[in-house]
């Protein structure tokens, strides 16, 4: 999976959770929860969607690494390589 594909996957899922946001306005370096008002259920649904698409099971302890879009890309890149 390329970085671009990972990014698209995460953004697609965010679009489903928060249909009213402009996905191209998201700053990839900034915490997603601060940008788009995600609650814990939204975030869990994002993790589940990523798991279903990539097979990567993200432990709760690693959630902080998934906080921003850039973070998601870096983290998933390494986890997918492992697999």
């Amino acid at each position: 999976m390329t970085d671009e594909q990972i990014k698209t996957l995460v953004l697609d899922e965010l679009g489903k959770i928060a249909p009213e946001i402009a996905l191209d306005q998201i700053d990839p370096a900034v915490d997603l929860r601060d940008q788009i008002d995600l609650d814990s259920m939204d975030f869990l649904n994002l993790m589940i969607a990523i798991h279903e698409a990539t097979g990567v099971d993200i432990p709760e302890a690693d959630y902080p690494k998934m906080a921003s879009l850039d973070g998601c890309v870096v983290y998933l890149r390494s986890r997918i390589k492992e697999a």
Binding site: D37, D39, M41, L44, N45, I48, H51
Partner: protein, 428 residues
């Protein structure tokens, strides 16, 4: 038309899922109704056969209106002349509500009035007209066959009532037509439901938003006007609960993980067993305890507004079951499709605004419920224990309760029970 929440005045039939002659069982979804807040799947409360459908697709009618008639076992089939639904024209504008609306014989939704010699004979059309025009059937003299009450009799009685209004001044909170299938009283309104008949099957998002704002305004103003709230707050040490939850989630795949809200919901439900006067409804000047523990969960909508559908029998469910229910509920709230029982029968509500970072929330009770539990953010705080100070995750639990139904002492015991239950998360 069931009252799907205290803030609902009218609903629009979007779709019928049954037709006359269909057999239905209690709990079946028979129709889809649009309200200000959501699209609701209406569950039937009787088992029997659909005799006729009274309110057609696209029609907007006030709560309490008979939508369809169901013949239950053992009831005679009505002669076809009586059950023929007339093609319904635009619903008549509701006349100004008489100052003290005459009490209407409570017509259970979807139940055929049994035609027996010692009961009033009322044609289905007349039944509907009586509801629409708010006429007490027991005061109407029937002029139909065998003295049956027909629609014309109702209309005559309604005109007479408007012509001679009682002398008492209007009471702004006089209950309107009692909800047919739910314990929720209809939302009071000084002006009565507005029945503008543009028969759009669905409401445009912007309209829905405005309508929802209005509905919330009506319910909350009603609550603050009528309910003498008292408020209590307690700091709860969440370290045991959070440690247990982390260890539990470590063992689980992401799809099986629990959110801490599930622990809170279960703790509230179990605490309700100990202090039952927090659970139920204040109706007709008295507290009616809830028959079960259905916990309403306040869920905010991304576009604004909120809705508090119920998870049923939370006290009897495992944490996993509650989590499955919660996920499903949030998903359907966001999609805008809920079931009538979820909307109408919460017996207590929980709001967890802590997600947004506030430390405490002091809620407004959702009438006719009598209590609302709020949880603030779980944050690390200095916590004194055994003469030592340490950092622990702490949450502020608050209770807004109806002083007519309970006193502060019982409310305090209730919060203490929630605290105690959260100290033994493995037993939840």
């Amino acid at each position: 038309m069931p009252a799907l929440g205290a803030d609902m005045e009218a609903g629009t039939i979007i779709e019928w899922l049954v037709k006359p002659g269909d057999a239905v069982r209690r709990g079946d979804i028979i129709a889809v109704v649009d309200t200000e807040k959501a699209t609701i799947e209406v569950e039937v409360f009787e088992t029997g056969v659909i005799q006729n459908i009274v309110v057609g697709k696209g029609e907007k009618v006030p709560i309490g209106t008979v939508l369809a008639l169901i013949r239950t076992d053992g009831e005679a089939v009505l002669p076809p002349t009586e059950i023929k639904p007339k093609p319904v024209a635009a619903p008549p504008p509701i006349p100004p509500r008489p100052p003290t609306p005459p009490r209407i014989e409570k017509p259970p939704l979807a139940e055929v009035p049994p035609i027996t010699p010692h009961r009033l004979r009322v044609s289905p059309l007349a039944m509907r007209a009586a509801l629409d025009l708010k006429v007490d059937l027991s005061t109407v003299k029937g002029t139909g066959p065998d003295g049956a009450i027909i629609k014309a009799d109702i209309e005559r009685a309604a005109k007479a009532a408007v012509a001679a209004p009682p002398a008492t001044p209007a009471h702004p909170t006089a209950p309107a037509v009692e909800a047919a299938v739910t314990p929720a009283p209809s939302a009071p309104s000084a002006e009565g439901p507005k029945l503008v008949p543009p028969r759009k099957p669905t409401i445009a998002p912007a309209d829905r938003q405005a309508a929802m704002r209005k509905a919330i305004a009506a319910a909350m103003a009603h609550s603050k006007r009528e309910i003498p709230h008292y408020y209590l707050g307690a700091h709860i040490d969440m370290s045991r609960a959070m440690t247990w939850l982390q260890a539990e989630n470590l063992k689980r795949m992401v799809t099986e993980r629990l959110l801490y809200s599930v622990l809170l919901l279960k703790a509230v439900a179990l605490a309700v067993r100990e202090i039952p006067e927090m659970n139920g409804f204040w109706t007709d000047g008295a507290f009616k305890p809830g028959a079960a523990i259905h916990v309403g969960v306040a869920i905010s909508l991304r576009q604004g507004g909120l809705i508090a559908p119920a998870i049923h029998d939370v006290d009897k469910k495992s944490l996993d079951q509650i989590m499955v229910n919660l996920r499903d509920l949030v998903k359907r709230v966001r999609a805008g499709v809920l079931r009538s029982s979820e909307i109408a029968d919460a017996t207590i509500t929980v709001t967890s605004l802590g997600e947004q970072g506030v430390e405490a929330v002091f809620g407004i009770i959702y009438p006719p419920q009598v209590a609302l539990v709020g949880f603030g953010k779980i944050a690390e705080r200095p916590w004194a224990f055994n003469g030592m100070i340490g950092a622990r995750p702490v949450a502020m639990a608050s209770l807004a309760a109806d002083h007519r139904a309970s006193d502060g002492h019982r409310g305090a015991l209730f919060l203490a029970a929630i605290d105690r239950l959260l100290q033994e998360p493995e037993k939840l």
